[in-house]
């Protein structure tokens, strides 16, 4: 055990690490946004009247949830150019993570929709709202509040999954930590600081989320 801790290299590289952290957060936010669009559509499909729609939604969920995210990331980045679709690293990764998030969020929104008491849509019907009007003004807002905690934990998972972007050399936190590790051999320092940054960020997100949940009290 001839190893002495020396965090100097890590501190001089701190801007890089923090930049990587910020990039990871951006990737996660973008994927959450796109994934939410997919998930809302998938959620409505999976409780909707169309059998084909329900099948499509459950097929999408089953395939994506059982495929490793790294395989999806690599496939989109390396294989899509063969089909003539050329995306930069970041957009390619966001596409992959959005597809991944969309499947989990389809489940989240499906459960959220089921949790809205049917009496509410009936009350919406009774005042003369159309199906779309009920979805937008009644079921949608109630569901959103119900899924807020699940949405938050999905965001935390997505943020952690952005580390996978290192595999296609997106310079996010894990990539930067590995660079410091390889360049300086300050191995223990690089990984403990990276890990601490991830953990702190996850806790911060979770705390912000609890604040948000308090601001919008449960019905």
């Amino acid at each position: 055990m001839g190893y002495t801790l020396n965090f100097a290299v890590v501190w001089t590289n701190l801007p890089r690490l923090l930049g990587g952290l910020l990039l990871g957060l951006e990737l996660a936010v973008a994927s959450l946004a796109i994934g939410t669009l997919i998930g809302v559509a998938g959620g409505f499909l999976s409780v909707g009247p169309s059998r084909a729609g329900r099948l499509l939604a459950s097929f999408y969920v089953a395939v994506v949830r059982n495929t490793p995210i790294l395989v999806i990331v690599l496939m989109l980045y390396f294989a899509l150019p063969d089909l003539g679709v050329r995306l930069d690293k970041e957009p390619s990764f966001v596409t992959a993570l959005s597809l991944y998030a969309g499947a989990y969020l389809t489940e989240v929104f499906r459960a959220g929709l089921v949790s809205v008491p049917p009496g509410l849509s009936e009350a919406g019907k009774a005042i003369g709202l159309t199906r779309l009007g009920i979805a937008v003004h009644v079921v949608g807002p109630v569901m959103l509040r119900n899924v807020l905690p699940a949405l938050g934990s999905t965001f935390i998972s997505l943020f952690k999954d952005t580390s996978i972007a290192a595999a296609i050399a997106v310079p996010e936190l894990t990539f930067q930590a590995r660079r410091i590790n390889v360049e300086s051999f300050r191995v223990v320092e690089a990984w403990t600081v990276a890990s601490a940054l991830y953990i702190a960020t996850c806790f911060a997100i979770a705390a912000a989320l609890r604040g948000l949940e308090r601001r919008f009290p449960k019905f």
Binding site: G119, E122, G124, K125, A126, G128, L129, V142
Partner: protein, 264 residues
């Protein structure tokens, strides 16, 4: 009493003819006929499972029905005929027709994400197309009439059951429906809260609103109605003015039913 014996000049506001409704193999409504005239208050009584609530839900098109007709102010609702076939109307049409009737539910069904005023305003804004300020004014007026002017900005969860139900009544009435349907609106309430809700409905009846209601409150039905309808096994078994129905019931099942309710 008005309309029931006014001459034919006034066609009924609501005419239900030969209404049939089944859930799977069980037939819930077996050919119900019922007229409700403008300004009339009609109470439907009967044991649970007799089809009262289903009848109300058919009128508001919350249920589909397999046979018969519901005609509201001269317009057949829910279906159109194409040759021999009945075709369910499109969502937009159903929504327009539903807006002609108001419905108050047993379980209030207030929108939990909106304030009391917001609940009343939603239909005014999105269905009637009112601006925010106008809808707010109308909502406040109606909340005032059900005695909840000061609670306009409370969330439903901050209101008692009785208050919630009065908001629901304001929500239905603010749309100025031709007909108001009230489905056992006091059944989910604690006994001490029933009075305030019934008083609200009574005030509406006095003001001339047309009401079709399902109730278990026999005394209320007697006090407020022009006509009482007794339903039994998916059919109207007996109907008439409250005095006759409660004072001199003819149908043996009605006699038995009234004995069972112990004059609540």
């Amino acid at each position: 009493m008005p309309s029931a014996d006014t001459p034919a000049a006034a066609r009924p506001l609501l005419r239900i003819q030969g209404l049939h409704k089944r859930f799977g193999a069980t037939e819930i409504l077996k050919g119900v006929d019922l007229d409700v005239h403008r300004g009339e208050v009609v109470s439907i009584i009967g044991s649970s499972g007799s089809g009262k609530t289903t009848l109300l839900r058919c009128v508001n098109l919350l249920e589909e029905f397999e046979g018969g007709e519901v005609v509201l102010d001269g317009e057949a609702v829910g279906y159109r005929r194409s040759g021999d076939k009945r075709i369910r109307l499109k969502d937009r049409e159903l929504a327009r027709q539903r807006a002609m009737t108001g419905m108050v539910f047993q379980s209030f069904n207030l929108f939990p994400h909106l304030s009391a005023a917001g609940n009343v305003m939603l239909g005014l804004r999105k269905v009637r197309g009112m601006g925010r300020a106008e809808a707010r004014a109308v909502a406040e007026r109606w909340l005032g009439r059900v005695g909840l002017a000061e609670r306009a900005d409370h969330a439903p969860s901050q209101l008692s059951g009785g208050q919630q139900q009065r908001v629901a009544i304001a929500r239905a009435l603010a749309m100025e429906p031709k007909l108001v349907l009230l489905d056992e609106i006091t059944s989910a309430l604690d006994p001490e809260l029933v009075g305030e809700v019934l008083a609200t409905v009574k005030a509406l009846a006095v003001e001339g609103a047309t009401l079709l209601l399902v109730t278990h409150e026999m005394r209320f039905a007697r006090d407020v109605s022009n006509t009482v309808v007794f339903m039994e096994k998916g059919l109207v078994a007996e109907q008439g003015p409250p005095k006759a129905v409660f004072g001199a019931p003819k149908h043996p099942r009605l006699v038995e039913f009234l004995r069972g309710t112990r004059d609540r």
